[in-house]
């Protein structure tokens, strides 16, 4: 890559078609983004499926990991949503597995991180927002709107507070999607910038090559950080989904 000079660090986010497809005038090609969505699901689902194949009473390493993942999300749903959140557990679990494996697979060099696509994260956040709002409306009817009225606030302030609450409610899908997208975008851009820097400096040749050691070491550290961010952001996205769900089911 360095042979033709420094590439744009955002070039890695470029969508490339693998199989050209179109339907109803829209381009629905199977792309690198689609491929890694598929891989995240297949690797995640395949791991969980094969790890549980033997249904051991005393779990081995793989089954232990699969069970741990299940219990982790189950605990998250139980403690944040409560018992009536059980119906939504498969969705939350799928979401977590999808994001975790998507983020992690994205860290492998030459792979693609579909969670760095704002349209993907926004679609998920938007779906969650709509679903949660509809659940709230179905469960509580018009009483659902009391959610926007803060309890125990002075009467004079209530109109302002309602405005603030409504805004913050509608900002939810934006903040939820942008958080994941921005973290992935920034992380991968940084990795690329430092990698590019290291390669560029090493291109200088001679004693100057040792200068590339610094960005290279930074790259190693950042990679570790990105692994953490990948897991953390999958967790944050999932737990916020649980909290929104809890708000809809229990209103405050």
């Amino acid at each position: 890559m360095a042979s033709e000079g420094m590439h744009s660090p955002v070039e890695q986010f470029e969508i490339r078609s693998i199989v050209d497809l179109s339907a109803g005038g829209y381009d629905i090609s199977f792309t690198n983004s689609s491929l890694f969505m598929l891989l995240a699901m297949v690797v995640g689902g395949g791991f969980l499926f094969s790890a549980m194949r033997n249904r051991e009473l005393v779990p081995g390493r793989m089954q232990g990991a699969a069970e741990m993942m299940y219990e982790f999300v189950a605990d998250m749903v139980r403690s944040n949503v409560g018992n009536d959140g059980r119906a939504y557990f498969p969705f939350v679990f799928t979401l977590f597995v999808f994001l975790l494996f998507g983020n992690m697979l994205g860290l492998i060099p030459y792979s693609y991180t579909f969670t760095s696509q704002i349209i993907v994260t926004f679609a998920m956040a938007g779906f969650i927002f709509l679903a949660v709002t509809l659940i709230g409306l179905f469960k509580h009817g018009l009483h659902f709107f009391s959610f926007f009225v803060p309890q125990g606030a002075p009467k004079v302030l209530i109109p302002f507070l309602i405005v603030i609450e409504v805004i913050s409610y509608f900002v939810r899908p934006v903040s939820l999607s942008v958080r994941l997208f921005a973290n992935m975008l920034a992380g991968h851009t940084m990795l690329k910038v430092f990698a590019g820097l290291a390669v560029m400096i090493s291109g200088a040749g001679g004693i100057a090559m040792t200068g590339s050691l610094l960005p290279f070491l930074a790259l190693v550290g950042l990679t570790g950080l990105e692994v953490l961010v990948a897991a953390l952001q999958a967790y944050v996205f999932t737990i916020l989904t649980c909290m929104y769900l809890n708000d809809a089911l229990h209103l405050h």
Partner: protein, 199 residues
Amino acid sequence: MRRVHAWATTASVAVMATATSAAYAAGGEAGLPQLKVGTWPSQLFWLVVIFGLGYVFMARVVTPRIGSVLEERRTRLDEDLTRAREASAEAAQTRADYEASLDEARNEAAEFARNAANEAQAKADATEKKAAKKMATRIGKAETALAEARAEAESNLTAIATEAAIEAATQVAGVKPTKAQADKAVKAAAKTLVAQGVG
């Protein structure tokens, strides 16, 4: 919660701005590839398809399977615990029974020993009594015999002494005392002798 939320949003927007400007500074083409709207339909389509299928797979296959394994383990553990508790209670019962029977046996043995001792004592007492009685009878008989023998000996002795006194008087003094006189004298002498402690 709200504060964390707001903080995270601000932070991520700041990060995005930095990243975007970095992208521009690096001389990228026309901005972020993420903002090329033409790629969106394909991404949305495949997201829906893949997430949808993944959801069905997770909801139908994976989560029930893991859930059932965990449930099975929980039931099994509960069962095992119950069984262990039952076995423990049973063991305690057995032990109590054993101790009760041991106590009973001990009491029985003690009673048996006591009875045996009493019986032996009674037997010994009876034997002793019998022996004492027998002994007493024999002693009585012996005493009677002795008394008789003594009386006989005494009477014989008096007769002999009388005869001897008559004889002696006849020989020595030439008088022939009557039997009654001699007898009287002998008896008086015997009395004196007894009084002197000879008899």
